[in-house]
Amino acid sequence: MLEPSATPKLELRNITKWYGPEGTGVLAVDDCSVSVQKGEFVCVVGPSGCGKSTLMTVGAGLEEATHGEILIDGKPAGKPGPRRSVVFQKFALFPSETVAQNIKFGLQMTNVPRDEQERRVQQQLEIMGLTQFRDSYPSQLSGGMQQRVAIARALAMQPEILLMDEPFGALDAQTRTILQEEVQRLSHQMHYTVLFITHSVEEAVYLSDRVIVMSRRPGRIKKEIQLPRDVAWKRGDIEQAAEHPEFIEARREIWALVREEIMAA
């Protein structure tokens, strides 16, 4: 079980992000604090354009925050690196490299020993059901398969923190459901520490231990909702989970908060 007082694995502390000059540019995120404990799955939901991606980009170290800091285990996180892996909405696979090469990319860049690279690539190919596509190029795969490769590429790094920005947003409904269930199963098995961005309230309730609702732009934290952990209904498929009273109640509560923000825009 989690101790609420423990130092968070990942902490975004008082993040403010202006695009362009402070005061006259675009204020995307305004004084947001988010922390994720080790082994915790946290979802951020909010209306489109509220600054979710910005929060993640800053959290990954890809953009500098205007104010605030990013901490891992209580220490400044610094540049992007193997401790944090990212899954992007638009897959962001390297088009000139095969599936196996994409998965291996980060391992090579961070000087993982060769035989260990091979082992991890093989392992991820198996876990994500990609073995037969090992030598395919991303352009030869469907969107769902491409996102599996992106997830495999991130997991192969064995990161301490996984950041996912609407990873299923670009997929069709059936593919999305399958991948949601796989991610749910994986995260229960492996106890990943995940910060997951989505605009889907159902996805958030199904996958996460805690949901953070953001306001419309400039994004602020509107509310945090703790969800029941380690309950049976979260381990089945999403259709069954969606019939559970706890799921329905949480979805209703969160959706009401998100709706307020959308309607007020």
Binding site: L62, P80, S85, V86, K90, E97
Partner: protein
């Protein structure tokens, strides 16, 4: 599967169209010259006359060399010019797009230089190098260089920033980001530039040979004119066109080999 399956439609269609249009052109040529005699041989020689002259030029030196010698001379200068245009221009263009301060500093100079036609450099090239291979190679270089730079630059600029972010997330430094992500993604555009550079260089070379030098296809044409040999001029012109097409085909082939990941 039937052995004699219908030929691949991707290849055969354009090939068939191409053959048809060339055939019609040849037919019109035969009709206009040999059959109907609309134009006299001093204006437009008949295909037969050109073929005869072609056979003749292969064995008999004209303007200092047989046809093959002129072709080799042209190809040599062209290769030097294009080679340096590519090996300098492509990295220059990549650097141009990747390093903002470099672009800011160099762009005004580059933009000005690139509007000077290659032939404007002929006099200075002659002063520097005399009537040598280097002179013509320099004209080729000047004609070919900007296309290499600009297309490499555009290719790099159009690489989706999210790929660069992904490379950073997975620990790539600048050099690895360029090597494994940015340059491969920019390769189609780089090749477009190379193909333009190759044809620009070829055209500029023939132009330069018309004015300087003692060999080459441009020189052959110029000498054909001096000697009132219209059929020699036509052999030269056709050789220039055919060689241009062949070179381009080779490059396209290389392009497909280098980029197996591209959608057809």
């Amino acid at each position: 599967m039937a052995v004699n399956a219908s030929p691949s439609p991707i290849l055969s269609r354009p090939l068939a169209y191409g053959a048809t249009s060339l055939g019609i052109l040849a037919l019109a040529w035969v009709l206009a010259t040999s059959v109907l005699g609309w134009v006299g041989p001093e204006v437009l020689p008949s295909p037969l006359a050109v073929i005869a002259r072609f056979a003749n030029l292969i064995v008999e030196p004209f303007a200092g060399a047989a046809l093959f010698g002129h072709v080799l001379a042209s190809l040599e200068r062209w290769s030097y010019g294009v080679f340096f245009a590519i090996v300098l221009g492509v990295p220059f263009g990549i650097f141009f797009a990747w390093v903002p301060w470099f672009r800011a500093v160099v762009n005004p100079v580059f933009e000005t230089l690139r509007y000077i036609p290659p032939f404007a450099w002929v006099p200075i090239a002659i002063l520097w190098f005399g009537a040598s291979t280097a002179t013509q190679a320099m004209v080729v270089f000047i004609a070919a260089f900007p296309a290499c730079v600009i297309n490499a630059q555009l290719g790099v600029q159009h690489v989706d920033n999210i790929l660069v972010q992904a490379a950073r997330v997975f620990g790539a430094d600048q050099l690895n980001t360029l090597r494994r992500v940015v340059v491969p993604v920019a390769t189609p555009s780089i090749f477009t530039g190379i193909r333009i550079a190759i044809s620009n260089g070829w055209m500029a070379l023939v132009g330069a040979e018309l004015v300087v030098g003692k060999t080459g296809l441009g020189f052959l044409i110029a000498q054909g004119q001096q000697n009132d040999s219209v059929s020699t001029i036509f052999v030269g012109i056709i050789a220039i066109g055919v060689l241009g097409v062949l070179i381009d085909l080779c490059v396209q082939r290389l392009e497909r080999r280098l980029m197996p990941w591209q959608l057809p």
